[in-house]
């Protein structure tokens, strides 16, 4: 029982990382209907930024985190400006293919700069187990979970209560109507990329601390799983991304512990297929009629 609880907490912690990354997918999809395949690479870049800051300075963990998130936000806005904005009115498939291109470009750029062999992430969070009753939870697991939840709450307040957050929802619904309100749509899209990328970087830094490594293709698998999480929860829906992330993290951890670690990925993707068969719009998605 204790072991199972401990696995659940690990699952939540891994899941919270997927959820953070999934938020970037879902927010970008919500606002410009683009599956940003380069998002996993933004996450990877965030981890490298943290790595670089950590080995060149002796800043404390919170500052390393903040700076790497800011740098990733700038990178995210930059990719949007360079690669996606010129395609705003092009067919959706063009932007999708461009996103795959950006993904390869960033991966290969990292490969050229940092080489293929993994770098060891400095121990930004001192690793030691904390006992809560009979439970033993690692500091990394706990920090990951707490930080993720804090940032999800901040995001929720931002989107629901602030003026730019509401503008973001307005733009997601109807760009022309949003313009007629005086909302700068281009800037709102840019802010969305910045926030999604910063959250992705947070996920990347936590991921690389958890697995102690940074390498050019590190964004691929978590990026894919986070994408699955976003679709599973209902793409475009912020609570969907969070729910999907946690569900996938739990299933992955539990199936690794109790079934087989080789099969865990297959189980995760199998689950996606089953859910989509019954509910194509994801767990929280509504089967909306297309507006005429």
């Amino acid at each position: 029982m204790i072991l199972f609880l401990q696995q659940m907490i690990n699952g939540l912690s891994v899941g919270s990382i997927y959820a953070l990354i999934a938020l970037g997918y879902t927010m970008v999809y919500g606002i410009i209907k683009l599956i940003n395949f380069a998002h996993g690479e933004i996450m990877m870049a965030g981890a490298y930024f943290a790595f670089l800051i950590a080995i060149t300075t002796n800043l404390p963990f919170p500052l390393v985190l903040v700076f790497s998130m800011i740098m990733a936000a700038i990178l995210g806005m930059f990719t949007e400006y360079i690669a996606y904005k010129p395609l705003r009115n092009a067919p959706r498939i063009s932007a999708l293919i461009t996103a795959i291109g950006v993904s390869f470009f960033l991966q290969n750029l990292a490969l050229v700069i940092f080489k293929a062999n993994p770098k060891i992430m400095p121990e930004l969070i001192v690793k030691k187990p904390i006992s809560i009753g009979a439970l033993k939870i690692g500091t990394v697991t706990l920090t990951t979970l707490v930080l993720s939840i804090i940032f999800m709450i901040i995001l929720d307040i931002f989107v629901k209560k602030t003026k730019p957050g509401k503008a973001m929802r307005a733009v997601s619904e109807d760009k022309e109507a949003a313009m007629l309100m005086g909302i700068n749509v281009d800037r709102t899209i840019s802010i969305t990329f910045a926030i999604g990328s910063a959250l992705g970087a947070l996920g990347g830094v936590l991921y690389s601390i958890t697995y102690t490594q940074v390498f050019p293709t590190m964004g691929v698998m978590p990026g894919l799983k986070a994408f699955v999480a976003a679709v599973l929860g209902g793409i475009g829906l912020i609570p969907g991304a969070v729910l999907g992330g946690f569900v996938i993290g739990m299933i992955e951890t539990v199936s690794k512990a109790y079934i087989s670690s080789q099969w865990s990925d297959a189980i995760v993707f199998g689950l996606l297929i089953i859910v989509l068969l019954f509910k194509p719009t994801g767990i929280l998605g509504k089967n909306e009629k297309e507006k005429v």
């Binding site: 509401k166 929802r169 307005a170 022309e176 109507a177 313009m179 007629l180």
Partner: protein, 234 residues
């Protein structure tokens, strides 16, 4: 207030607006009437910079809007009640009205204007926290008008505000237009319901397949035989 001079608008190869010119003076209600497909919506979208004319100039408050974007026009005092309402259906009634006041920061004045809107449309107040998508068609139209008023516009463009509404609601919408007019807001009203539009308007332009074919005071047009026949049902 608004001068439209010799504009042409195309959708790819379709020549939707052909050499159209007209004017709206401060304090006036001007209506563009015309059948479905005449080009009314295209003209309003061009004024709002959602579409670009290939020829001609539009002056808003004596400034050419050639280099101005849609969202900047709102800051200059333009509001547009678009065809089909286009409210933000997943956002609450209150949030929709807040989006209408997006360009403003004067909190106390915004609150006063909210009260005014709720005075015009008491039904919106009852549904203040409801997602706007759950409102009836007429309520959505009221929200769309209220939302536009929240920016305190100098000129309001209204695209068929009575479309698809029951007669009683149509009357209610036109009463509000009259009230907005009385408060001094300039209005460019597009309508297929020429009867009602001419009653509230000072002047009118008649549009046919992208061209202005007639213009005059509302009174003149109401008495014009060809207009009576084509647009006023006899």
């Amino acid at each position: 207030m608004l001068k439209v001079q010799n504009i042409d608008v195309f959708y790819n190869k379709i020549h939707a607006i052909k050499d159209v010119s007209f004017e709206v003076k401060e304090g006036e209600v001007v209506t563009l009437i015309g059948a479905n497909g005449a080009g009314k919506t295209t003209i309003l979208k061009t004024i709002s910079k959602l579409l670009e004319p290939t020829n001609g100039v539009i002056l808003f408050r004596d400034e050419p809007i050639t280099k101005i974007t849609s969202h900047q026009l709102v800051y200059l005092g333009l509001a547009h009640v678009p065809e089909g309402r286009r409210i933000f259906s997943k956002m609450s009634v209150f949030e929709n009205l807040q989006m209408g006041a997006y360009i403003r920061n004067d909190k106390s004045q915004i609150d006063a204007d909210l009260e005014k809107i709720f005075h015009y449309f008491p039904r919106l107040k009852e549904r203040i926290n409801q997602p706007a998508g759950t409102l009836s068609g007429g309520e959505q139209q009221m929200l769309s008008i209220g939302r536009a008023l929240m920016s305190r516009p100098k000129l309001m463009l209204m695209d068929e505000p009575s479309m698809g509404l029951a007669p009683l609601l149509v009357q209610e919408i036109f009463n509000i237009i009259q009230t907005i007019k009385n408060e001094g807001t300039t209005i460019l009203l597009v309508e297929q319901n020429a009867n009602k539009a001419l009653q509230v308007a000072d002047r009118a332009y008649v549009l046919e397949t992208g061209k202005v074919i007639k213009s005059g005071t509302a009174k003149e047009l109401m008495e014009d035989d060809s207009i009576k026949k084509a647009y006023l049902g006899g």
